[in-house]
């Protein structure tokens, strides 16, 4: 069994439609730790020691957040700055994360087609996520294809619940090592595994 750490970052959970349902659906599951960053560090005073310990105790690291300005909310960026220290996460002696897997779970208002060369945003989601990917690689981790919720402002309640179920299934499969990683590596999104 693999242990999964969800680094959940949402600065206004009280206004959330999608992520609230998603995060609620995966609470209290054995092997899955939800670490709500904004709840723990409202003043951005991140407990570095605690965060590093959590990272070491888990095999799969999930960055779960809404996609703001093609990026993560400020606190998660701060988390990268503070927690992934040189000598811990990267550098010659920074091998604490070596061999772990990293995954982005994001929600975005745009539909898939606007994230393309010809679309409004000109780049694909994976192109935008390249900094996460390379960060994972720098830390000697394997970066998995992202799990993406498109059209978050307009999808129905039913669709949200569907996403939540997929999310839960995905995590359980990761936990129980029931993932065909070869197949997954050819996919653009993690979602495609559960079509």
């Amino acid at each position: 069994m693999k242990r999964i750490l969800i680094l959940f970052s949402h600065p206004a959970i009280e206004k959330s439609r999608v992520n609230k349902v998603l995060i609620d659906s995966i609470k209290d599951i054995e092997g899955i730790t939800v670490n709500d960053l904004y709840e723990h560090y409202p003043d951005f005073y991140i407990d570095i020691v605690r965060e590093q310990q959590l990272l070491q105790l888990h095999d799969i690291i999930v960055w779960h957040h809404p996609f703001y300005w093609y990026n993560a909310p400020a606190l998660l960026i701060e988390w990268f700055d503070l927690v992934l220290q040189h000598g811990f996460a990267y550098g010659m002696n920074g091998r604490a994360l070596e061999g772990k897997k990293a995954l982005s779970v994001i929600s975005t208002g745009g539909q898939p087609e606007v994230y393309s060369e010809t679309g409004k945003h000109h780049y694909t989601i994976n192109e935008f996520l390249v900094s996460f990917k390379q960060s994972a690689i720098l830390c000697r981790m394997e970066y998995l294809p992202p799990f993406v919720i498109h059209g978050s402002h307009t999808i129905t309640r039913g669709e949200i619940i569907e996403y939540a179920e997929k999310y839960k299934k995905l995590l359980l499969n990761l936990r129980d090592e029931k993932i065909d990683y070869d197949k997954l590596s050819e996919m653009e999104y993690f979602n495609e595994l559960y079509k």
Binding site: D43, Y45, I48, D81, L82, Q85, H86, G87, G91, M92
Partner: protein, 639 residues
């Protein structure tokens, strides 16, 4: 030894004060009563240690009143005084006028001649500045509504002494008695003999010269003397100033106390104000004490023993008359919720001015010596009783009124559903309450200070007057279904009691508490209440943040350092609590409370380093690694 007698007298007075005042304080009676009792004990009718010259001592010690008004003036800015003009002239003027008339009428009924009756009325209408102000300062009441009003009245009475003295010759002629020339009276009547316009001119000139002297010239003197660095010279200058003004005022027939008060007010904006205050304060305290002792010592028990009930009857009658006039005036001038009672009890005695006035009236043969003796006894007894009146008000009237008012207030309150209760709505609770209201939460506020209740209601807050320590009050406010209770009151010990009560009877209600300091926070921790906020920590830390910025930290650096420090404090609090639980002996020594706290927290600081927790954005190790790599690359190349 030179002048052994003087020193022996001093020994007795000082010993009496040192023994009796702490004792009286311990019994909760206040220092004034302590001094008075000390005076009675050393006086001619009990120990007889002093006697012959108590009058002289008293006259000398009256100067304490002058000093006191100077010090009070120092604390009163002119702008504040201007605000009080209505109550000084309205309330004060009416008090003197009506009380004089009422007492004179009663005196007439006792078969005094008309001019005597007027004299008695005027003399007994005044109240004791010394006793009232001493009590107000001691109890910290000088700032409250009743205290302010009482002070206004006293101030007017000081002004009124001038016409009361001036009227003596007129009253005396009315009786047809021959005026005996006395040196002291000569001054007054000499001044009074001048035409009205001239008198007014002299008074205006005197007061303006005080103002000019105080405002523009005095600071040069103060500076020159302060620059000598000799503190005793400054003391001499301060005393010189006060004595000089007192004498000048006396000369032109104004009350010396009034003159020095004006001087004090003028100097209230002066940069040497604090220095002056601390210099004059011990003299003021000692002289006032001496004054009260001599009042006690000059009680004429012989006269009292002859007809005790008649005299007591007079005293009670006097106090009753004054009290009734005062309470009616208090009501008219919008004193409410028990303040009118405090105001009336404060001023119900007679004044030390009476001693002076009675002797003048006697000299002008307006009073026979029997009348003077009787009046003096009544005045002194009323002064001696007045501290007791205040105790009576504190212990009997106030609680009774509070209970009665609670009943009234609570009938309006319908029990709110699931209320958020804030107990104590002063400086602290106000902020908590505003934050909640601003975010759309309705709160039930309980406060025991009636003035706050009135003001805040005016601004639309839901506020109830009540003593939260009484179970009924907190139950009525809806504790049973309350979401949570915020104990933001400044009565720290009471807050713990209330918390304990709620914990025991309503264990589900969450409690949030304001703590005075670490130990107070621990009291809450003991009740398993961890949502506690030490009251000054955060504002102090944030001021510190400003200081860090001005010392060259960037804004964000200062912010981070302060934030780290705040989180560190939470840890300190927890660690110290653990230590406290295991080793209470080490801590609890009430008098050493702060120093214990200081040494323990500073000890914790020793192990604190901001750099341990703040290595973010630190590139030292990256540089080191890069450098070492370069080195090895180079070696590779040249191998």
């Amino acid at each position: 030894m030179y002048n052994q007698d003087l020193f022996f007298q001093a020994l007795i007075y000082l010993a009496a004060a040192v023994v009796s005042v702490p004792l009286a304080k311990k019994l909760g009676l206040g220092s004034v009563l302590g001094y008075l009792v000390a005076g009675i004990i050393i006086g001619p009718f009990i120990l007889g240690l002093v006697g012959k010259n108590t009058d002289k001592v008293m006259h000398f010690a009256e100067f304490g009143v002058v000093l006191m008004l100077f010090v009070i003036g120092l604390e009163l800015k002119p702008s504040l005084l201007w605000k009080m003009r209505k109550s000084i002239f309205g309330l004060g003027g009416l008090q003197v006028l009506i009380t004089s008339i009422v007492i004179a009428a009663v005196a007439l009924a006792f078969d005094f001649q008309i001019n005597q009756a007027i004299g008695i009325g005027l003399i007994l209408a005044l109240s004791s500045t010394a006793i009232v102000l001493q009590t107000l300062t001691e109890k910290g009441l000088i700032g409250n509504t009743a205290g302010r009003s009482a002070f206004s009245v006293l101030l007017f009475q000081d002004i009124a002494v001038v016409p009361i003295l001036a009227i003596i010759p007129v009253l005396a002629t009315l009786s047809g008695a021959e005026i005996i020339e006395s040196s002291e009276l000569n001054n007054i009547s000499g001044f009074a003999a001048l035409s009205g316009w001239l008198q007014l001119l002299i008074i205006v000139a005197a007061i303006s010269s005080i103002i000019i002297l105080g405002r523009f010239i005095s600071r040069y003197f103060f500076r020159i003397v302060a620059e000598t660095g000799l503190h005793e010279v400054f003391t001499a200058l301060a005393l010189l100033l006060v004595i000089g003004i007192a004498l000048a005022m006396d000369r032109i027939g104004l009350s010396p106390a009034l003159g020095t008060f004006i001087a004090g007010v003028v100097l209230a904006d002066n940069e040497y104000r604090h220095e002056l205050e601390t210099t004059i304060d011990p003299f003021k305290g000692l002289l006032l004490g001496l004054f009260f002792i001599s009042v006690g010592a000059s009680l004429n028990f012989k006269l009292f023993i002859e007809t005790p009930f008649t005299i007591l009857g007079y005293v009670v009658l006097l106090i009753l008359l004054k009290f009734i006039v005062l309470i009616i005036l208090g009501k008219i001038f919008r004193l409410r919720k028990g303040y009118e009672f405090l105001f009336a009890f404060l001023l119900a005695q007679s004044s030390e001015f009476a001693f002076v006035l009675i002797s003048f009236y006697k000299q002008s043969q307006l009073f026979t010596s029997e009348i003077s003796e009787l009046l003096l006894l009544i005045v002194i007894l009323s002064m001696a009783i007045s501290p007791l009146l205040l105790i009576f008000n504190d212990k009997a009237i106030s609680p009774l009124l509070a209970r009665w008012q609670n009943k009234m207030e609570y009938e309006e309150v319908e029990e709110p559903e699931n209320p958020i209760i804030i107990a104590g709505f002063g400086r602290f609770g106000l902020v908590v309450g505003r934050l909640l209201l601003a975010n759309g939460f309705k709160v039930t506020i309980i406060d025991s200070n009636p003035t706050n209740v009135e003001i805040l209601r005016k601004f639309g807050f839901k506020l109830y007057y009540g003593d939260v320590t009484r179970p009924r009050v907190i139950e009525k406010a809806g504790i049973k279904n309350a979401k949570l209770v915020i104990l933001s009151m400044a009565e720290y010990d009471d807050a713990v009691k209330v918390a304990d009560f709620i914990r025991k009877n309503y264990p589900k209600v969450k409690i949030f508490a304001r703590a005075k300091d670490l130990f107070h926070a621990f009291d809450f921790f003991n009740l398993n209440i961890k949502t506690v906020q030490p009251e000054v920590f955060h504002s102090a830390a944030e001021l510190g943040e400003m200081v860090l910025t001005s010392l060259g930290f960037s804004k964000y650096e200062a912010y981070k350092a302060t934030r780290t420090f705040k989180h560190h404090e939470e840890q300190v609090l927890e660690d110290l609590y653990e230590l406290w639980k295991t080793d209470k002996k080490h801590f609890i020594q009430e008098s050493r409370r702060f120093s214990e706290q200081l040494s323990e927290t500073l000890q914790a600081e020793k192990n604190y380093s901001i750099h341990e927790t703040d290595c973010a954005w630190d590139v030292t190790t990256i540089i080191e690694e890069a450098v070492s790599k370069n080195e090895s690359d180079k070696t590779d190349k040249y191998v």
